[in-house]
């Protein structure tokens, strides 16, 4: 009886000792979620309502701001551009990087290490500093102001990280895999795409997730290479809205919500993979 009381009290005091820690965690959770809550409720309010009821729910869940952002501010167009650029860069990066990583990690060439080193050095290179020469190059190739140009630049920037991830995953697969297939007369292209690539699905998803986030979010290269409104991507359009629709807060909040929606959905579905990917490699940005 008394022993039980003592252990009870010990348990309670242990929980009490943890209270400050829980408070700290709760405070930062609020610091993250409150701005996002305000963002979401403000999407449904008129500007006058945003000023009147700061934290309250909107009077009605009207979609006017979303409709205005999508059509009047033409965010729909930017959204499709961003989807095309992100999708194109993800696919191109995965295909060419997997192709390069396969011989580099599984053949004995004598020059694997040098070539791999050349690719890996690109992970840290500050490519923004090359933007003047990149601009001249893109102009000479006729790639300025085009989504194709953006797709090529983004793939080039993401290839080093992708080759690194693919090579690490492919290196540890048993060599019997491709040897057996080769005995059966399978070509190297088939071995890569039908045998090796399906075995490294986690690598494909890591590369896809982090390439998609980096490309969807990028602002610097569209700012430099895109001039025509019809070719602008979402972050570039948002940077204009913030100044242009300064007085129409509801519209700006709604356009922010629209532009983060795809990443938000992906994050909710893939939070565990993203957490593990970052914790393991720290390979973001």
């Amino acid at each position: 009886m008394s022993a039980l009381a003592i252990s009870d009290r010990a348990a309670i005091s242990r929980q009490l000792a943890r209270l400050p820690g829980w408070t700290v965690l709760a405070v930062w959770t609020a610091a993250v979620l409150l701005p996002l809550y305000i963002l979401v409720v403000s999407c449904f309010k008129t500007t006058a309502e945003i000023y009147a009821t700061r934290l309250g729910l909107p009077q009605s869940w009207a979609l006017d701001n979303f409709v205005n952002a999508w059509t009047r501010a033409d965010l729909g167009h930017n959204f499709i551009n961003s989807l095309i650029v992100t999708g194109g860069a993800v696919v191109l990066t995965i295909v060419v990087s997997a192709m390069a990583a396969y011989p580099l990690s599984r053949y004995r060439l004598g020059w694997n290490a040098v070539m791999l080193g050349l690719f890996l050095s690109g992970i840290m290179l500050p490519i923004r500093l090359a933007s003047v020469e990149l601009f001249t190059l893109m102009r000479n190739l006729g790639l300025l102001d085009s989504l194709t140009g953006l797709i090529l630049v983004y793939s080039a920037i993401r290839i080093p990280f992708a080759v690194f991830i693919f090579a690490n995953f492919m290196r540890v697969l048993p060599s019997e895999l491709d040897e057996a297939a080769r005995m059966d007369g399978a070509g190297e292209v088939r071995i890569l795409f039908q045998i090796i690539l399906p075995m490294v699905k986690p690598a494909v998803s890591i590369v896809a997730i982090f390439t998609a986030i980096a490309v969807w979010n990028d602002f610097f290269f569209p700012l430099i290479f895109i001039f025509d409104d019809r070719h602008k991507t979402v972050p570039l359009a948002i940077s204009v809205f913030v100044g242009q629709f300064r007085t129409d807060w509801g519209l700006v909040f709604a356009s922010l919500a629209i532009s983060m929606a795809p990443i938000l959905i992906m994050y909710c579905l893939l939070a565990r993979q993203i957490r593990e990917g970052v914790g393991a490699g720290g390979g973001m940005k």
Partner: protein, 310 residues
């Protein structure tokens, strides 16, 4: 004999296939990353007229960088980037360690808090900057909350004040990336054997003692990764400044960074509108490239030496 011929023909096929397989990735990477970067470094020792190289300039672009009127811009931006890096080290990577330690001590809820803390990091800095610009604006919700709590009176002008604007941007950046140190530290803590903490507990070490005397020395690889990443990211800082304060780093250049300055020189927003100074821009780019490469190498070596092997 036949096996020999077979392996050597396999080797020849492999060499040929390897070249074909590597070529697409190498071509894209070399054309759009390596070539422009090499040309930018090379171009920094030439005189430029518009987008055209004119003649060899030696180090004159570099010496122009350090004197009036560019000198003031350069030193200002250099200081802002340094302050930004130090601020991130303390407020993001320091507080992040506390969060990670608290999550490590609790088995329940760690995944939930990690997911919440990391969420802003998957958003574009443009969106984060735009959101905080609205929240911190005069008449915005932060002003309303501070006035309501009696902590502040009247209009909130932290972004328009040259004494506070930079600190606000650093805070927004820390808010954006807080989840990164939390994830990297917790991954590091989980690799440390539980027996070490058990033994320390038996010896009567408290939580704080365990964190600073036992966990921290073993977290050197994680701290090294974070320091290097934060260094690279803060010295490339552009998006948040552009969206919140404009490309001039307003007010009166108090939030100007090396990359916003580089952008103005290269794409014509410094001085008279539309005038570019490519020579100066490339010299600045080369300087920044040297700062980043030397800094990164020194940090990697520093943390490599301090890594404790068990």
């Amino acid at each position: 004999m036949t096996t020999f011929r077979r392996t050597s023909s396999l080797k020849r096929t492999q060499q040929r296939m390897a070249v074909l397989f590597i070529l697409p990735a190498l071509a894209v990477y070399a054309l759009f990353v390596l070539y422009p970067l090499a040309m930018s470094l090379w171009g920094s020792v030439f005189v430029w007229k518009g987008l055209r190289m004119v003649e060899f300039a030696g180090v004159s672009n570099f010496s122009r960088l350090f004197v009036f009127p560019s000198g003031a811009r350069l030193y200002g931006a250099l200081w802002h980037n340094t302050a930004w890096f130090l601020g991130i080290m303390v407020f993001q990577n320091g507080i992040g360690l506390l969060f990670a330690w608290l999550l490590f001590l609790r088995d329940k809820g760690a995944a939930f808090f990690q997911s919440v803390f990391f969420f802003p990091a998957v958003l574009s800095p443009v969106i984060v900057g735009a959101l905080w610009r609205l929240l911190l604006a005069p008449g915005g919700v932060v002003e309303w909350a501070l006035n309501g709590l009696g902590l502040h009176q009247g209009s909130l002008t932290v972004l328009g004040n040259s004494h506070t604007a930079l600190a606000m941007l650093i805070a927004v950046d820390a808010w954006n990336w807080m989840g990164l140190p939390v994830l990297i530290y917790t991954a590091g803590l989980r690799q440390i054997s539980g027996q070490i903490f058990e033994a320390a507990k038996l010896d009567g070490a408290g939580n704080a003692r365990m964190l600073f005397s036992i966990a921290l020395p073993l977290l050197m690889p994680a701290l090294g990764t974070l320091t290097t990443l934060s260094f690279i990211n803060t010295f490339n800082q552009f998006d948040i400044v552009y969206v919140m304060q404009g490309v001039q780093g307003n007010p009166s250049y108090s939030t100007d960074t090396l990359v916003t300055y580089f952008y103005r020189l290269a794409f014509g927003a410094e001085g008279a509108v539309g005038i570019t100074d490519i020579g100066l821009a490339l010299a600045l780019g080369t300087l920044l490239f040297l700062i980043l490469s030397i800094g990164t190498l020194m940090m990697l070596r520093f943390f490599d030496r301090r890594t404790v092997q068990l």
